[in-house]
Amino acid sequence: MADRLQVKPYLDLRAETQARDRGLHEKVMSLEEAAALVHDGDHVAIGGCTMSRTPMAMIWALIRQGRRNLIASRSIMSNEGDLLLASGVSSHVVTSWFSQGIVWGISKVMRLHVETGKARFDEWSHMSMGLRYRAGAMGVPFLPTRSMMGSDVGKRAESETREMTCPFTGDQLVLLPALNPDVAIIHVQRADSYGNAQIDGLPFMDMDIAMAASKVILTTERLIDNAQIRRAPDRTRIPFFTTDAVVEVPFGCAPHECYGTYEPFFDQMNDYAKLVSADPDKGAARYLKNHFYDTATWEDYLERFGTAAMLDASRRGRSIYDD
């Protein structure tokens, strides 16, 4: 499995990319159909950051389908990471920071899995995660950086990086290996049926992971007509030819936020934190049963949060445009 994180040989990357269907055609499907594009053992890059634009609906579908041995990478992991570990979908995460969020303290689910050796947590600096995806997006095997030196974060990743003396300046540099995920799962505010996506607000690392990945699954708050995309091509952030699936999923990040649409469902995040704090193992299992395994549809899942919470999160979400 570790092989999946090594730099992909260029000729393999090119051959894979050439074999993909990159024509302009419809890719709209259901959550379940899209989730079936992810295979056991895949390296899945997750869009968004912490509680923002998390592709929760796709994670819900992957957990329900019982996917196994995924390597999950993300800029920063929040409690979607807990759920991937607790459900057994993944036991290997690659990220810069992992806990529900600063205000809730250290994730007990992460601790349980990592401290007992059930899961592996590869730690890279935030910029390094970004540069690794960017190298993958650019089609180069590495990017150089002036970070990750001297520290134990750097030392612990040493088997995967290389040191270099700059042939121009003599500077010491670290070369960060490219990441080309098997699949990127990304939630956006708007996409057309071909897979052109617009993103409002914070873009995080999503453009790079889309460009770097071998397959892209988009979930979107709204499916819009291609004519709208073409009317403002300078607002497109992900081009159709990288995209393999488009799924319309309103509130697709709940209980996390989607910029300009809804803020986090804070009460629900608090409830989750209390539950897993009391007992990370049983708490997470109970949450997964209630919110994932016992909800046949995404609408059922949302129902668990309730209408009042949805309205409140929406009101706060839209308020960014009140200023």
């Binding site: 912490t50 920071w97 990592v114 520290s151 200023d323």
Partner: protein, 257 residues
């Protein structure tokens, strides 16, 4: 403008003392919690053209009192921002050199200003797996740092279990020797004192004590020998004005309880 010590919390003291370290016109890369409060406080008081950056990808936001963001990556961080951009690009501003100060909290720090937010105990068999670096490693590798934290013996250790965010590593020229040719620890602010670092051996030293704090009190709460500057001073306690603005920013004491 003297204030009764019992009139403010330790966190409020941290925020006020940190805010005073910031100059107008600076660009400050801030974490949430005390750093964000301190930077915003400075902006409201003496540094109106100071710019806040968040690692989520935000340049120059206006933090709304009572609506403090829960992390650096939510839409609340972008209120009235001048620009939002990809995470990688906002981090690269540090490498390019546009940032004056990185400002964060710390879980564990050692005499050379190295910070640990990754592991308590042996990293291969950790007692506690902490959340990790986030942008900490990049920020502390690439710019000058201010750290605000509680002054406790278990946090001020001789050597951190794991260097997540590099300070001066093993002191002297070791930081530059490792390839980190810029930046480094500038100040550590605690509820007891204000610390800097010796220009030669790069060890932490006390620059000023907060009002009513003794040298012994600092030493008793520090896990290593801590020098005192020859020109040790005492800080002015938080003013009523500073506290008033601060409390308006965090009325629910989310970060200042």
């Amino acid at each position: 403008m003297m204030t009764d010590k019992s009139a403010y919390t330790a966190s409020e003291l941290l925020a006020v003392m940190s805010a005073r370290l910031l100059d107008d016109g600076q660009i400050v890369f801030a974490g949430v919690g005390i750093p964000l409060l301190a930077v915003t406080l400075a902006q409201r008081l003496h540094a109106p053209s100071l710019t806040i950056l968040f690692e989520g990808g935000v340049i120059g936001p206006f933090v709304v009192p009572g609506e403090l963001p829960p992390s650096t990556n939510e839409q609340r961080c972008t209120r009235k921002a001048n620009m939002v951009l990809p995470i990688t690009d906002v981090m690269l501003l540090l490498q390019r050199g546009y940032i004056d100060i990185g400002f964060m909290g710390g879980a564990q720090i050692d005499r050379y200003g190295n910070l640990n937010s990754s592991f308590i105990g042996d990293p291969d068999k950790p007692k506690t797996r902490l959340p990790g670096t986030g942008g900490g490693n990049d920020i502390s590798s690439l710019t000058n740092m201010i750290v605000a934290m509680k002054h406790e013996k278990r946090r001020f250790v001789p050597e951190v279990d794991f260097v997540t965010s590099p300070g001066f590593l093993s002191g002297g020229t070791s930081r530059a020797d490792a390839g980190l040719v810029t930046g480094g620890m500038f100040r550590v602010v605690t509820d007891l004192a204000l610390m800097g670092f010796d220009g030669e051996n790069r060890q932490m030293k006390v620059l000023a004590l907060h009002q009513g704090v003794s040298r012994d009190q600092v030493l008793n709460n520090t896990g290593f020998d801590l020098a005192f500057d020859d020109e040790l001073t005492e800080t002015e306690p938080p003013s009523a004005d500073e506290l008033a603005v601060l409390r308006k920013l965090d009325p629910e004491q989310l970060y200042t309880a």
